[in-house]
Symmetry: C2
Subunit: 151 residues, 2 copies
Amino acid sequence: MAVSEGLAIGALARRTGLAVSAIRYYEAQGLISPWRNAGGQRRYQRADIRRLSFVMIAQQFGLTLPEIREVLSGLPGNRTPTPQDWQDISKGLRAHLDQRIDTLTRLRDNLDGCIGCGCLSLPKCALYNPDDRAKSNGSGPRYLMGDSPEA
Amino acid sequence: MAVSEGLAIGALARRTGLAVSAIRYYEAQGLISPWRNAGGQRRYQRADIRRLSFVMIAQQFGLTLPEIREVLSGLPGNRTPTPQDWQDISKGLRAHLDQRIDTLTRLRDNLDGCIGCGCLSLPKCALYNPDDRAKSNGSGPRYLMGDSPEA
DNA sequence: CCTTGATCTAAAGTTAGGTTTAGAAATTAC
DNA sequence: GTAATTTCTAAACCTAACTTTAGATCAAGG
């Protein structure tokens, strides 16, 4: 027997704290690609622990799984990622996070200046449609916290 | 005919930018309570425009509908809310928002200090289990971005 | 060898926050 | 007094991110 034949999915689950079902799901979403042993069971590298950890962190930062897959595609495919590789793709997270903090901060300032001031009239209100429209496939809100223009 | 018999749901939808179906859904969730006219149709007050606007803003701040219902319960039930009433319950939003900004900022700083430094070893990492565990009914992540303690 | 535990696949179920659909009844417009 | 719009309810459907279930196969221990 070799030094290592790789981790079974249960072992990886224990190492990462993820559920086995979640790990399989991530594979279906293209976030991780184990090989299979002779019996058809998944086998993982130790580097995959780090990969899944990265997925969990990125999720806490609010990235969707497709977004995370995109970020991970920045890793080298031909070798085990080095610490430097991880640092490099983490820069993208940093940017994402900065932007989210920025948006929320702007939102908070508007809350102070808008609801806080008691004006409450505002089609003009900056709180309306705060530019990062995550869910904009339908028609979003139009006039917030007040009467419509023609009223 | 009186000066006003209230807004029909379609009118409220146009005023707020929400879909009619969303307004009915919010009612089912206890966020708004119209009365019914003789024919059984929903009729709304003008103050409900503001109420729904508040719902939309609170959602953008990341509150769930149950949380928003809770915040709205702080409004007076016996009269139309005044600007001061809205300011009062908005304080809760402000606190919520401050906390979220705080969490994200802490997360960002950890990203810098942790992934950024390249240590990548860390059961000790502060990124692990960043204290606001929103979705903690199962067992969450245990060791992030690295090898397990016994490795 | 046999039993127990881990893993496999596919499909269905879950929660949040809604939307869509269908058929009926109310309202409005002409 | 029709015809066209709205609105009504209930139930089914939708996406994201998973979990659960069922029945079968694989792997490991004694």
